[in-house]
């Protein structure tokens, strides 16, 4: 691999780790597409998995007191239950409409959370109209 590719991977890793440590989320979202510019998809995915796992070991210790263990267990149990359902759906559905639906749901949920005024206004207009 060329030195410029290594520099790109290292810079992406640093910025994505900074975002994840500051906000709790974002490493895979940022690193996965950018890693693909430098390495093939299987290696990019495995790099994201290994580096994220390693990153947790340095970021988590300072936040241990803020973790709600019961909530974490319920989320993890739910995720374990949802994973096989998702795998079944993955086999039997077209990935393009699924991705479109997920993208739209993320953006719509974001709008619902970030622009409550806009949502309330739309609701008022709907009721009055």
């Amino acid at each position: 691999m060329e030195l410029s590719h290594w520099a790109g991977l290292a810079a992406t890793t640093f910025v994505a780790a900074l975002l994840q440590a500051a906000g709790g989320f974002g490493f895979a979202v940022l690193a996965a597409p950018l890693f693909l510019l430098f390495v093939d998809p299987p290696r990019a995915i495995q790099l994201v998995i290994i580096v994220t796992t390693a990153l947790s070991t340095v970021v988590l210790p300072g936040l241990r007191r803020a973790i709600a263990p019961d909530l974490l267990v319920r989320l993890a149990v739910g995720s374990l239950a949802g994973l096989p359902l998702g795998l079944i759906a993955f086999r039997h559905t077209d990935p393009v409409p699924v991705r479109v639906a997920v993208g739209v749901i993320i953006l719509a949920s974001l709008c619902f959370w970030a622009c409550p005024g806009a949502v309330a206004g739309a609701e008022r207009r709907r009721r009055s109209g």
């Binding site: 906000g23 490493f27 998995i49 970021v59 559905t93 993320i106």
Partner: protein
């Protein structure tokens, strides 16, 4: 937020992981809508990722395997991740609720747009 909704949010996250490889957005949106504090959101997400990525790593090791070259590349990149982690953690501790909301908004916007772009790329590849 309630135990039933916690389980449902986790299940949606599991489904999203399998379908589009993104575990974070459903849990982040759920915690934000539930009014969790920025520190609780960060801590819960990071610990959730630690569990799910560690499990995924073990699954990869036991099934498809991880080549030595990938371990080597990861070994080179991990110090940069640690550096990012050491810089980002105190930044996150100092983020106010408003700044955290802006960061979460930016990350979720990227996640949503990236998912739509990936769908568009898939569609374009099919029509070629």
């Amino acid at each position: 937020m309630s135990p039933g909704l916690d389980l449902t949010a986790g299940a949606i996250s599991g489904i999203a992981t399998a379908l589009v490889g993104m575990a974070g957005p459903p849990v982040l949106i759920y915690l934000l809508l539930g009014g969790a504090s920025p520190r609780a959101v960060r801590a819960t997400l990071l610990s959730f990722f630690a569990l799910s990525y560690a499990a995924t790593l073990v699954t990869h090791l036991l099934t498809i395997g991880i080549p030595a070259a990938t371990w080597l590349a990861a070994g080179i990149l991990i110090p940069f991740a640690f550096l990012g982690g050491f810089v980002g953690r105190p930044l996150g501790d100092r983020l106010g609720a408003k700044a955290f909301a802006m960061l979460a908004t930016a990350l979720l916007t990227i996640a949503g747009l990236y998912t739509l772009a990936a769908a568009a790329v898939d569609l374009a590849a099919r029509t070629e």
